[in-house]
């Protein structure tokens, strides 16, 4: 009978000494008290699942929220992004904060509208990928058997089809490409990878005793998935959603740069495409291509920073690792009778 890893006595204690060292200090394990870390991560359910507000998370949030607000609000206060009555290729000035393009468009107005367009595409494509990956991944993992075989087969086929070329093929065949179409195409090509991860996770969750317990209690399959399994996948889903947004925005930028982007909409990608065809680099019009490029980089960085913070919830070892290493060094320095070499024999 293995002894339980956590709480020892009946007293309700937040952190008994046992919590901290009940797990035998294995010779091989790098972090002996993962049991505690896991318990800590689960602490107080959803409140505890919220990442702690670190500098990393704060800067990520500031970037993402700032860019989003800019995309929502700014277009109302700029001139029309397609008003071509301005003098062309003006450097930034009080009249035109970010200068003008070759056709006399105001870059700031374009950037505001482009932020809105890019974010829309990102969010729509991300949502599509999220729904599809949950549908295929979680169902395959939970149902098992034949349903798993079929769902996994579809997932694997989607996985091996190279995404961007497929998008390019679709994009060339469809004449009037609205931003929605581009978003759908990007979403459809992005769900397979996350689905594989979700399938593995749900399989392991399905084997947990609390899932069996809820089945014995009489819960129906959809409730088991929605209420018992999905909440425990939330951090992972959030991370995947954010990643899908980055992927879609970058994908759209790539497509637009190749001239296969949405027609009739302005995005960061179409701006870059315009700048390229208008020979912005050759004429030294940096104000034309730097703002959209910078926005893509900033949003990517912001989402990644948030993602790192979420990763630390999924894998608490990441969070405790720096602190743990510090304490290990301290103990090794001050402590007596500590094993210095790793091997025993």
């Amino acid at each position: 009978m293995p002894e339980p890893h956590t709480a020892v006595d009946e007293a309700v204690v937040d952190r008994t000494p046992a919590d901290t060292f009940a797990a035998p200090i294995g010779i091989t394990s790098a972090v002996p008290d993962t049991g505690r870390a896991e318990a800590e991560a689960a602490k107080r359910g959803i409140r505890r699942r919220m990442p702690k507000l670190t500098l990393k998370l704060a800067s990520g949030l500031v970037l993402v929220v700032g860019i989003t607000l800019f995309g929502i609000i700014a277009p109302f206060f700029t001139q029309s992004p397609t008003f071509s009555g301005n003098p062309s290729l003006q450097p930034p000035s009080a009249d035109h904060w970010l200068g003008t393009t070759k056709l006399g468009y105001d870059v700031f107005a374009q950037l505001a509208q482009g932020t809105r367009g890019s974010l829309l595409i990102g969010i729509v494509a991300g949502s599509i990928a999220l729904v599809l990956s949950v549908l295929f991944g979680v169902l395959a993992g939970y149902l098992g058997n034949w349903s798993d075989e079929i769902l996994s087969l579809v997932t694997n086929i989607m996985l091996v089809i190279p995404g961007l070329p497929l998008v390019m093929v679709i994009a060339t065949y469809v004449p009037g490409r609205s931003w929605l179409l581009v978003a759908i195409v990007l979403g459809i090509t992005a769900w397979a990878g996350p689905a594989v991860v979700l399938r593995a996770q749900s399989r392991s969750l399905r084997a947990r005793e609390y899932v069996a317990a809820s089945r014995v209690a009489g819960e129906r399959a959809h409730r088991v998935i929605l209420v018992e399994i999905l909440p425990n996948l939330l951090p992972l889903l959030t991370a995947q959603f954010l990643f899908a947004i980055i992927f879609a925005i970058l994908g759209e930028a790539g497509l637009s740069y190749l001239g296969l982007g949405p027609t009739g909409s302005i995005t960061w990608g179409t701006m870059l495409n315009d700048a390229q065809t208008g020979q912005a680099i050759g004429t030294g019009a940096w104000w034309w291509f730097v703002p959209p490029g910078l926005m893509i980089a900033l949003l990517g960085a912001g989402l990644s920073l948030i993602n790192f913070s979420i990763d630390e919830i999924i894998n608490p070892k990441l969070r405790i690792a720096p602190e743990y290493t510090r304490r290990v060094r301290k103990a090794a320095r001050e402590g007596r009778g500590v094993a210095v070499e790793g091997s025993i024999a």
């Binding site: 901290t20 001050e334 500590v338």
Partner: protein
């Protein structure tokens, strides 16, 4: 049994430098006599394993010994200060004088090396002058000692049953003819019949080879059956230390009594309150730590 000590621990305290620091072992003094089986009993988290790791210089940071002395009294009369050992001396001491059998044999054996190679490793590290032939002979002899067919020497850990793996671990611990073996729950994960076979083997080997054993487990009845003396640990302290007989028949500390009562008697009446309802439910639910 001689009363000559082989391992003496004085005022050992071990701390985990986590946040906040946890004192896992508090001022424990313990003497292990040559050739005796000393049982270390206690529930999970009482610090019994930590103490064992401390005695063998196996503490991994953030655990550290904050105070105390551990002295090993060698067969030839030399005393070795275990806490002060380092480098080459530590290597020469560990496994050679004091070896250890861990709880999970599967995690302690290397899955990609055969048993023979793993035994060879021990010999090559500690007995570099041994020849290949001697190593093989000694390995076969060890397997025979622990009751495994010597032809299993070339097996890999996953090809062995749980019981056999634990026997291999004991063979490895015996390899250098140590004077002390520390066994941390060596049979807890095994089925009772297999467990009994291994316990018998340990007892037999102890008679034959004369090493002392520190046997760590929460299974107090088992300890009473096999140990010479038993130390009962609670929250990092030894609350009672006595001969197995004393612990069983004249336990003084409340916690020892409580622990004894936790094991219903197989053939006797102790524990029949469950069936008869003689004990009020609430009182049976108060726990060791609250009761003490």
């Amino acid at each position: 049994m001689s009363a000559e000590p082989v391992l003496t621990a004085t005022d050992v305290s071990i701390e985990y430098l986590v946040d906040p620091p946890v004192e896992a072992v508090k001022n424990v003094s313990l003497t292990l006599h040559r050739g005796e089986i000393l049982g270390l009993a206690g529930e999970s988290g009482c610090g019994k394993s930590t103490l064992a790791y401390g005695l063998n210089r196996l503490l991994k940071p953030p655990a550290m010994m904050s105070s105390g002395e551990v002295v090993f009294h060698d067969r030839d009369g030399h005393d070795i200060d275990v806490v002060g050992l380092d480098g080459e001396h530590l290597r020469a001491f560990r496994w050679d004088k004091v070896s250890m059998v861990f709880q999970g044999a599967m995690n302690s054996l290397n899955p990609v090396l055969s048993v023979k190679e793993q035994l060879d490793d021990v010999f090559r590290t500690h007995r570099p002058k041994m020849r290949r032939r001697e190593r093989l002979e000694r390995s076969r002899e060890l397997l025979e000692l622990v009751g495994v067919d010597p032809d299993r020497l070339t097996s890999f850990p996953h090809e062995l049953s749980g019981g056999m793996r634990q026997r291999m671990m004991i063979a490895m611990a015996l390899a250098l003819d140590p004077q002390v073996m520390i066994m941390d729950e060596p049979t807890t994960a095994l089925d009772v019949v297999v467990q009994r076979g291994i316990i018998r083997e340990i007892m037999r080997l102890r008679e034959r080879l004369g090493f002392a054993v520190i046997f760590i487990t929460h299974d107090l009845p088992l300890l009473i059956e096999i140990s010479d003396r038993i130390a009962v640990m609670l929250r990092g302290e030894i609350v009672e230390l006595g001969t197995a007989d004393d612990i069983y028949r004249n336990a003084r500390h409340d916690y020892t009594k409580k622990l004894l009562e936790s094991f219903p008697s197989l053939r006797g009446d102790r524990g029949d309150f469950i069936r008869t309802g003689a004990m009020p439910v609430a009182s049976a639910l108060t726990t060791s730590t609250e009761a003490v």
